[in-house]
Each structure stands twice: as C-alpha cells, then as structure tokens.
C-alpha cells in the first residue's frame, strides 16, 4: 500500500489539535465576549494565543496536504489506477482536495482580516467551524490510511465505543 513518509503524518495530529483549539476559541468567543475584548486580561491573552495557533495550523494544513498528496502518488507499485480502485483511497483523495480548499480559505481570510476575524459572527462562525471540520476530516482520513495500510487504526477503539461503523 502506498505510504507517505512519517513526516507528512505530523500535520494530521497538529490539525486535530487545531480543531480542538478552534472549538475552545469558539466557545470563549460566544460565552465571554466582553472578557476577550478587554486587552491585558488573562482570557484575552489565551484567546489571542489560540488564534495564532489556528493561523499557523492553517499553513501547516495546506502545506502538509500538498506534501501528502505528492508523496501519496509516488509509490511505483501503486499507480493511480490501482489506488482509485480502493474505496478508502477514493475517499481520502476526494476529501483531501476539499481539506486543501478549507485550509487555503482559512489562510487567506486570517491573513486578510487579521484577528478581527473573531469580531463578527459572519466571519468567526465559518472560520471556527471550518477549522473543526478540516481537523475532523484530517483525523478520519489519517485513520483510514492506517486501516488501508495496517488493517487497523488508533481511532478504532474510539469509534467502536461511539458505535460508529468502521470499514
């Protein structure tokens, strides 16, 4: 089975953490609107650091997905026509493209708007939700990669516990 180098798997963990941070930031933004807008408070500092974390995560997601896509298609024993015959690989290819778009969106919006992205619901809700969706998709795709290559994944016990069917 086609295998990426170990390095290109690191971003999956980072992006899953980024999704968790985005969820925390979204909750903070909704629940403590006044506190996070007060400069100098501990909550405002934490919120700001989380915002930077998500911003860097978007860059890592974009670059990591490009690296993963390039290396995933370089395995000589598994040309594209063999990979696309596998349902798991088809899923990974399709949603990797969508994830790349999501992280490109996050990069551009955050670069253009700055931390004002957290001011209005029209920007912070899509920004946070897309970060969470991207992280969850990356987590699922990473788990499917483990299933495809090693017939198992570290996510299996969690999904079994949740009762979610697994290929």
């Amino acid at each position: 089975m086609a295998i990426h180098p170990v390095f290109v798997h690191f971003h999956t963990g980072i992006l899953t953490a980024t999704a968790a941070v985005a969820l925390v930031n979204l909750i903070l933004r909704v629940a403590f609107k006044d506190n996070i807008n007060t400069p100098g408070t501990r909550l405002a500092r934490i919120f700001h650091q989380f915002d930077i974390f998500i911003y860097i995560g978007a860059f890592i997601g974009f670059l990591g997905l490009i690296a993963g896509a390039v290396t995933g298609f370089m395995e000589p024993d598994y040309p594209v026509n063999v990979l696309v015959a596998l349902p798991i690989m088809r899923f990974k290819i399709l949603w990797s493209v969508v994830c790349t778009e999501i992280y490109l969106y996050l990069m551009i919006v955050r670069a253009k708007v700055g931390d004002r992205v957290w001011v209005k619901p029209s920007s912070y809700i899509p920004y946070a939700v897309l970060t969470i969706v991207g992280g969850v998709l990356m987590m699922v795709m990473g788990a499917l990669g483990g299933i495809a290559v090693y017939n198992t994944s570290i996510l299996e016990p969690i999904l079994d516990w949740l009762g979610i069917p697994w290929p």
Binding site: F7, I52, V82, K120
Partner: protein
C-alpha cells in the same frame, strides 16, 4: 522589528522548515519503476508468498486455461498487470483481485486464492507475470511460462462464455469521478462566498 514579531517569524519559519523536510524525506525510488522480475524493480522485501498450481503450461491459441493463484503472508492484492512480460498476449478473466473481495476464495485475511482464466491470443513461448503486494511496501512476483501452439481452427474473438463477475471495488467509481469534479467545485464556491462575506464585513 519588534521582538514579538521576531518570535512569531521564528515559529512560522520553523513549521515551514518542518514541512519542507516532510517533502524532502520522500523514500520512494523513482528510478526503480520497472516491473518486478527485471532490473530496476522497486526495492521490496520478498516475504509475501505467491504460488500457482503450475509454472509451466502448454496451451493452444484461443483455448482458455485456468491457473489457480495463491498469495499469502499478508497479501492484499494480486494483479496481472498490463504491459508486464507477455501479459498482453493473453486475455484474462481477472486483472486486479483484492483480499476478501468476491473473487477471493480464501476467507483468511492476508491470503488470496483466485482462479484466473487465461486465453492465449497468439502462438509462441510466453511468460505470464503475476504480482502480489501488501501494506508496508511489500511486493513480489511470479512468472508462469506458457508454451502456446497455434490453433488449428480459427480462434474465437470472445473465448470466454461466461461473464466475469464485476470488480467489487470499482462499483462506485463513476460516482466518485463525478464527485471529484462537483464536490471541490461546490465547496470552492461556498468558501469563496464565505470568504467574500468575511473580508467585506471585516476588511
């Protein structure tokens, strides 16, 4: 430059270097892309087992014969690839067989047993090259020599009388091809709209 900005720059550059190192750590050997059984085959560890009920067959052009192929020790795929050895000189009832697919008669995971019907298309001494692979970059191949004699009758153009079962893994392929076009386009348009709204209202 303020110290705070310098720290941010250092952090961002560190992650960029990590990502570049990821691309640089590619372990594939692009020069070793030849088929197995020849020089410059991709470097693989031969721990998989691959056997056939016969490695030397006498056949007649246009007359089908069956090979029982058994792969094990973790095999996930058996394939008779087009373009390898003389594979193109035979029509084949199966080309790609996945472990635990409908064509796999061995229920054990990591082992594949399949009967493939070959029909020689021309006379001569031919080689069928069968390939098997698994996870962790494992692959190996097996050659079967076939001495094909010319047919005394006109070979039929459709030698197999039964329709081979459809490949179970490609049943949704066409749907996937359509999704590969429309899902990224739709998500791209949605993201463009959301981005436009975010930048316009906050810019």
């Amino acid at each position: 430059m303020k110290r705070k900005h310098t720290m941010k720059l250092v952090i961002v550059m560190s992650f960029l270097i990590l990502s570049l190192a990821a691309v640089g750590s590619i372990t594939a050997f692009e020069s070793q892309a030849s088929e197995c059984g020849t020089t410059d085959c991709h470097n693989t560890s031969g721990v998989l087992t691959l056997a056939s009920n016969s490695t030397s067959v006498t056949a007649t052009a246009g007359t089908p014969f069956v090979l029982q192929i058994d792969a094990g020790n973790g095999a996930e795929w058996v394939s008779i690839k087009a373009g390898w050895a003389d594979n193109d000189d035979f029509s084949r009832s199966e080309t790609h067989i996945e472990d635990e697919s409908a064509s796999d008669t061995n229920a054990v995971s990591g082992a594949i047993s399949v009967e493939v019907t070959f029909t020689p298309l021309s006379a001569g001494i031919k080689t069928i090259r069968i390939w098997t692979a698994a996870g962790s970059d494992l692959a190996t191949s097996l050659d079967v020599t076939v001495d094909v004699t010319a047919s005394t009758t006109t070979p039929t153009t459709t030698p197999t009388t039964t329709t081979p079962p459809p490949e179970p893994t490609i049943d949704l392929y066409e749907v996937w091809v359509q999704m590969m076009i429309w899902v990224p386009v739709a998500s791209g348009l949605i993201l463009l709209f959301l981005g436009y709204i975010a930048i316009r209202r906050n810019g």
